[in-house]
Subunit: 166 residues, 6 copies
């Protein structure tokens, strides 16, 4: 059997069978960082209304994106998400927005792809809404922060602050 | 008027009116980098069949993702894409895959969001197919490389090799 | 905590966590009224084939619309619907069609949004199919009729015949 | 030929052929009214943050809903929308929110269904976000306000203030 | 260059660039045959209401399916369909339903995949609605009947009655 | 009650209520045959890379298509698929590709429509990728091979090799 759970030797790609797995409460937390650059970042923080609109749009897009995960990622299982929560923190020195998404479910497979898709779509939405100010925005450091409830136990990035900056 | 073209002062968010813009041939090129780490990267390059399956899956997911852009990003205009092309280069020292997407259209708005969505969904697909080997995969450096055909002229990252590593 | 379950104080919008809620059999019934006006209404009832086609199209669109609820309404949970049923009654005096949708599920959240979306999409479909005859069609009085099976007990409009006409 | 443009006598339903129609700039404006009742209405206007979040969510959902029109309404043509704009006005006496959507395109068919779908989905989103406070919310008076640019000339509701209340 | 227009040698799959192609009016006609077997076929023709409901459902599903083509078939271009028309003929000797779909557009690529998707989804819908009566239903002979308006000229099945029965 | 489980006498179409059915592990296997003709078939088998790309694309499209079943087929219940697996066998004498799809779930309704949709979408994808070589490709013999786990017991095509060739 292949190390790649979605691959089946010479049989090609497959959606792996999760019938035998037990449904449990599962959580995944993912993160991304959007480097806006100084112009777009300052425009954002200097306009309270704009900031609210951009971040609320990104929140909603991320939540709706999480619900689309099983349709965007070919081999992902469709999952009934129990909750999605996105939060933002602004770094005035790096001119960046860090997005954190937490996804919960009760299912027989995990939700890390849902959390990663949530931060990706939220990041693209911020990019889209700020691109009239700068074309040099970069989305970086999309990664899993932690994961709980699966049969393989919990996973957590040990020293996230030591990760190389995006 | 707001600097943010999607925002309308106290009126909130809007899809900006592109009726007056002239349809032209437009191209956008975007990139992303997926850091697999040594285990997943070596598993990939040591198994020619797996490598083909993973990269073809990412290519298809990226192409299909580009077609979903107007549905994922709340304020994006729906666009008829004329072509999407994704290519991959593997960096054996950084244990990374760099994805480049080129999108063409004939429309009155650009396709940078389509190119960025293509590389994002392709990156998430690689992540999904390699996550049984490593949970520390990171997707970084999602950015626009170049853009042609719009009313504001062309845009190109000047020294992309000098960009900070994702 | 906010009175608005989808809002999280200064944290913005969220999909509320339903992990702790117990899955139960749940039903919701919703209604809408489409005022066609005399021309479109008479055209409809005088042509048995047209009437059948319009109402069957509205039924199917309402059923399919119910299945899309979680994708249309940003903060709705995705739900596996167990059944959807739409019925129509024609009022020859008001030149109107009343649509009733009943949705069932076994889930840890209710299906009122699914029932309301079903009648809304069915109403829009009737509008679309009759709009070549009249542009003054109005869709009104979209509301919940009853709801059963949730943790807060049942809900039922007490005197629906006393409700103001849409 | 049937008076119902989508019906084809005994041949059933069809998407009508618009090949011979000339593409023109077209606009449609539609409206809906959401009666929240006093509790939900007061909760909304007394919490500036909540009000912003609810209305921004409804705006985004309406914009995204407009883009889904061709997929929700079975016989609608797919259309490339050039802009969507939703605005809200709050009536403190009726405890209601009036939603107005304006949609533009350059196409060979009109966008009234897109405008009507936008206000419907925005209304359902407000309902969803306020339903924890009241179950007696009603969505009413969904109708076309005006339409311009089609081959049949313009249409406008003559005395909208004389329309019966939803 | 590969004989397969969607393949790019060792570069993998791509959506081919149609930017240089001229938009023209294009039509495609496709067909499928659903063998119901005697039980399901007789149940269908002996119940006028059921027959109407099944065929109208299949018509609507085929029309809506045609609009989904660009999302279902990975390398298809998104296309604005100008019309879709499905008709049915029942063969009482073969216990079969023949479905014919005609799709029109004005675009720089053809609509054969849209017509083929329309008959496929309509066939699956008939299958679904009759499967409680028989599990031996077969869908066969899905093929292109004719194609007009492309740069390669017209195509038409020469002697369709001589084609082997599905 | 109608023999057609989705029909409700004069009440029209409905999604049947599966609330009372017990969730069980369920499997369905479906098949289709794509007759490519000699030119397209030989082009495929003589180009190992092309063959891999076409079959992998069809596999992914079939898997993603299976996940779309509840949205394409109007009266299908949405289902959480536990696995999808597609395999291909090439017949050098008939110049055909036989596709087999196996779908698993744990649900209170079966997955035959999911398996049939998987082979249909995979077949259409092969058609699309080979249509530049031949316009006479035919998709045939889409049928259920076996079904297990439902309340009516198992079903299996008794002598599949005696079935008429598509």
């Amino acid at each position: 059997m292949s190390q790649f759970s979605h691959l089946n030797g010479n049989e090609g790609v497959q959606m792996v069978d999760i019938t035998e797995k037990t449904p449990t409460v599962r959580t995944a937390v993912a993160q991304s960082v959007v480097f806006l650059g100084s112009d777009a970042f300052r425009a954002l923080i200097n306009d309270e209304v704009a900031k609210g609109d951009v971040l609320t749009s990104a929140q909603l897009a991320g939540i709706m994106g999480a619900k689309e995960t099983g349709r965007l990622i070919p081999l992902c299982h469709p999952i009934l998400i129990n909750s999605v929560n996105l939060s933002f923190s602004l770094d005035e020195e790096a001119f960046s927005v860090t997005i954190k998404a937490t996804v919960n479910t009760h299912a027989n497979t995990g939700v890390e792809m849902e959390a990663l898709t949530a931060v990706s779509v939220a990041s693209l939405t911020i990019y889209d809404m700020c691109k009239s100010i700068s074309k040099a925005i970069r989305i970086t450091n999309i990664k899993l922060i932690s994961k709980e409830g699966g049969v393989h136990g919990s996973y957590s990035v040990s020293h996230p602050h030591k990760q190389p900056r995006g």
